[in-house]
Every structure is written in structure tokens, then in C-alpha cells.
């Protein structure tokens, strides 16, 4: 039952910080996409933004939140499904940001991009949960699953609207805070939908070959470091560009 889940609040807070940092880096890269002068530049900007969002804001957040969650038994992760969840988040976010940043703004485009991003967040989460290897029977409350998906889509639409339609601090900070809410809101609602039932302590096959929290911690540290460096580079490049523009 979900009552078996206990959270380390510090790590929960850290998961939100990481999702905001990843969203900030991703969205600030994304708003540069319309300024790309060649298709190569555009593709590079889309992939960089998609990676920051998919792997940084969503994937890293998810696994910090999983480390924050004590399920009362040892847990490991299937490496293949864990890697696949990152790839799906990256692909969905790249597609969503590419749609949102193409041509003039339209509500249809915003909705399509928001759905892509929202489904990317949701797919990553549930694939990440499918990677969980633990000695218990698991099931989902489908109403909460649907709610988590709705939260991800709606908050993604709002975040993209803020990022591409506003200018100034609200664009930069507001969009990242809202996207962080999209990712965390989806995740923790999804976790509330996750039910655990004892199976009598039978360890499932593959538990020995699964990744433990320690392995994930190192990966998450690297991802976080890359995000921080990315955010700093964006800031530096932006200052440089601003100074170079002559009247």
C-alpha cells in the first residue's frame, strides 16, 4: 500500500530544485531556437534543450525523488528500462520544444507541444517505475494515474506559454518554476497512485543485477553538474551577446 512510502523531505525539496534548474536551462536554450540561422544550429539547440529537460529536469528529478522514497524494502532498478526512460524523456521533450519554437505562436502549436512534453514526463515516470525491482506486488490507482498525466500536460502547456510568450524575469524564472511543478506534481501524484503489497519477502529475479541507489546517485550528480554548468554558460553567452549588439 502507498502507506509504505516514507519520504526524506530534504531530498523531495532537492528533487524540485533539480527539476527547476533543468527546466531553466532547457527553456532558456529553447527560446534561442527561433534565432538559429541554420538547420544545424536549430537541431543542436533543440537537442540541447531536449537533453536538459528530458535528462535533467525530468529523469534526474525522478530518481532523486525515488532516492527520497523509503518503501520499506530494498529496491533496485533494471538498467535497460532506466536508460530507456531517459531516452523517451529526451525524445519527447525535444519534439515538444521543437514544435513550440517553430514559427509564429499559435494555441494549436502550444497544445501539441504541451501534450508532447506532458506525455514525455509521464512516460518517463511510468517506465522508470516499471524499472523498479522489489520484493512486492505493485499496482496503480488508475484515477490518480490519469490525474498525474493531466497535471503534467497542463503545467507543461503553461510553462511553454510563459517561456515563449513573455519576456523578462517572468519568462526566465516563472516558466522554470512552473515546469518544475509539472514534473514534480506529476511524479508525486504518480507515486500516490503506486500501491505496494507484500509478497511474503520473495526477491524477484534480476534484483541482484539491478542498479542500486548508490549507482544512481553518481549519475544524478553528473547530470546536475552538467545542468549547472549549462546554466552558467547560457548566462555568460547571453551577456556576451547583449554587449555585442550595436545600435
Amino acid at each position: 500500500m502507498s502507506a509504505h512510502q516514507h519520504y526524506n523531505l530534504l531530498l523531495v525539496l532537492l528533487s524540485y530544485v533539480i527539476s527547476v534548474l533543468g527546466s531553466f536551462t532547457a527553456l532558456q536554450l529553447a527560446v534561442l531556437i527561433p534565432l538559429a540561422r541554420t538547420s544545424q544550429q536549430r537541431i543542436a539547440a533543440v537537442l540541447a534543450a531536449g537533453a536538459a529537460m528530458g535528462v535533467g529536469a525530468i529523469w534526474a528529478m525522478h530518481f532523486i525523488a525515488m532516492l527520497a522514497c523509503d518503501m520499506g524494502m530494498p529496491v533496485s532498478y533494471d538498467p535497460l528500462l532506466t536508460a530507456l526512460s531517459a531516452v523517451i524523456a529526451f525524445a519527447a521533450c525535444s519534439l515538444g520544444l521543437s514544435i513550440a519554437s517553430s514559427g509564429a505562436f499559435s494555441w494549436a502549436k502550444l497544445a501539441a507541444a504541451g501534450i508532447c512534453m506532458g506525455l514525455g514526463v509521464t512516460s518517463m515516470h511510468y517506465l522508470g517505475m516499471a524499472a523498479v525491482i522489489m520484493g512486492a506486488y505493485t499496482s496503480y490507482d488508475m484515477n490518480l494515474v490519469a490525474t498525474s498525466m493531466l497535471i503534467a500536460i497542463v503545467a507543461s502547456v503553461v510553462a511553454l506559454w510563459l517561456a515563449f510568450n513573455l519576456r523578462g524575469p517572468l519568462q526566465m524564472i516563472g516558466s522554470a518554476l512552473v515546469m518544475g511543478l509539472a514534473v514534480c506534481g506529476m511524479h508525486y501524484t504518480g507515486m500516490a497512485a503506486f500501491n505496494i503489497d507484500e509478497n511474503g519477502g520473495q526477491a524477484p529475479a534480476g534484483v541482484a543485477g539491478g542498479m542500486r541507489g548508490d549507482n544512481l546517485g553518481a549519475t544524478i550528480f553528473v547530470v546536475t553538474l552538467v545542468l549547472l554548468i549549462g546554466a552558467l554558460i547560457i548566462h555568460y553567452k547571453r551577456q556576451q551577446r547583449r554587449a555585442a549588439i550595436s545600435i
Partner: protein, 259 residues
């Protein structure tokens, strides 16, 4: 007909002449001579073009908003100063500064005093948003006939510059959204404004004192430059509905923006 020498700085050389040559031709100008070279700042394209004076502002706006252009400077060549096509390396002689100082009167009478505007633009960039002393000085320095066109040009160039500097990152917006989210905060850095859809009310415009001469031209140009660069589609017109300088200082200056 006028001849302009246009110096353009871009980040790379490839295709620069082709892309900007098309802009020149599309604006109704003829490309007389050109030179492309590279230095530590980037790739430079210097063109001498000939065309109707009425089309000059349009050409400058297209160049200023072109994605290959980092910066540019257009200088009016003195009549007869330009060498024949394909001859003589650049730089070419420029028109003497100050149309008000005597020559060339025929050009100054119909267009902006480009050299005066070009002189003041770096000061505007340096002191922005505290730019009104420079604009008032410009207003007094240029000939009466060139005043409005000069302020319009200064406004356009400033508007485009502010857009590129502070508001370019993000999606292309429609006109109303551009007015609300880009022009409105940009104008608020300069003056007190009240924006109502397509109408911009400027309170106590410092460039339009009672009996003043600008006719809100700087702000018209500022909006045209900024919105032309930001809104989709890019052709934006600004009409002066009311100027307080024409009514003994009463009321707001009102500008109407349209496609």
C-alpha cells in the same frame, strides 16, 4: 536618387553578399559596388547602393532586422562622390557632416540627417534609457526639414536595438501581444505610458513640450522598429493621433499602431 554606403557587420562571411544583395534589390535599390572582408570583429560587407530617397528608411529597417546583420551603418554619399561601378576600392568619400551647415540641401530637405543620427546613436546606446538630452540635442542640431525624419530614424534604430538586446529571445508574437509584452515594458523604461490595445498614450512626453516640433516622431520610429522586428507579419505602421505639443501641452500624446 541617392547613393548610400552601407557597412554591415555579420558573424560569418558565407552567403552574406547574396542574402543582403537580395534585400537591397527588394527595397528598390541598385547595388553599385561591394566588398566583403573579415577582421577580428567578424565579416564586413560594404555596399554602395543607389535608389530613391523615399525608400531609404525601408531599406535600413530591413537591414536592421535581418538575421545576418549584427550592426550596420548607412552613410549618404555626396552627389558625384561615388566612383563608377567596379572601380576604386572602398572606403569611398562620405557626405559632409551636417546637412544644416549648407550642403547637400536637396537631400536634407526630404530625408533624415543620417550623419547626425549616426553620430548620436552610440550616445543613445551608452546612456539608455536616459536618452532625452541626446534626442533634444539632435532635434535642435538638424535642419527643420530633416527634424522629423531624423527623429523617426533615431527611433527606429533605437527600437530595433532594444528589441534585439532585451526582447528577441522567445516566440514570434502577433501585433497586439507584441505591443503588450514587448513595446509596453520597453516604453515604460523611457516614459509613463498607458497601452490600450493598439493605442499607446504617452504621458508628459519630454520630446513634445508645448510648441515643440517632434510630433512624437521618435516614439513612432521606436515602435515601428521594435514591433517590426518582433511582430508577425513584420510591416508595422504607427500613426500620430494626437500630440500634446500641438495643444498647448494638454492631454497625452497618442500613437496608433497598425499592420
Amino acid at each position: 536618387m541617392i547613393e548610400l554606403e552601407i557597412q554591415i557587420l555579420s558573424d560569418r562571411r558565407e552567403g552574406l553578399l547574396v542574402e543582403l544583395g537580395r534585400v537591397v534589390v527588394a527595397s528598390g535599390f541598385t547595388l553599385l559596388r561591394q566588398r566583403v572582408y573579415q577582421d577580428s570583429q567578424g565579416a564586413w560587407l560594404v555596399m554602395v547602393v543607389r535608389g530613391e530617397v523615399e525608400r531609404q528608411l525601408g531599406l535600413e529597417e530591413l537591414l536592421a532586422t535581418h538575421n545576418r546583420v549584427l550592426s550596420f551603418e548607412a552613410t549618404l554619399l555626396a552627389p558625384g562622390a561615388a566612383a563608377p561601378v567596379g572601380v576604386a576600392p572602398l572606403p569611398v568619400p562620405r557626405a559632409p557632416n551636417g546637412a544644416t551647415n549648407g550642403s547637400p540641401p536637396s537631400l536634407a530637405a526630404v530625408g533624415p540627417d543620417v550623419s547626425k543620427v549616426e553620430t548620436v546613436l552610440p550616445q543613445l546606446a551608452r546612456d539608455y534609457p536616459k536618452i532625452f538630452p541626446w534626442l533634444l540635442a539632435l532635434e535642435h542640431e538638424v535642419a527643420a526639414e530633416a527634424r522629423e525624419a531624423s527623429l523617426l530614424l533615431a527611433g527606429r534604430r533605437t527600437g530595433i536595438w532594444v528589441y534585439k538586446r532585451d526582447y528577441e529571445m522567445g516566440g514570434k508574437l502577433g501585433l497586439i501581444d507584441s505591443i503588450k509584452r514587448i513595446a509596453s515594458p520597453a516604453l515604460r523604461a523611457l516614459v509613463t505610458v498607458d497601452v490600450r490595445e493598439r493605442h499607446v498614450h504617452i504621458q508628459n512626453c519630454p520630446l513634445c513640450p508645448p510648441g515643440g516640433h517632434s510630433g512624437c516622431k521618435f516614439f513612432s520610429g521606436f515602435l515601428e522598429g521594435m514591433l517590426g522586428a518582433s511582430a508577425a507579419p513584420q510591416t508595422v505602421f504607427v500613426r500620430n493621433v494626437h500630440c500634446r505639443s500641438h495643444s498647448s501641452g494638454a492631454g497625452d500624446c497618442i500613437l496608433e499602431v497598425s499592420h
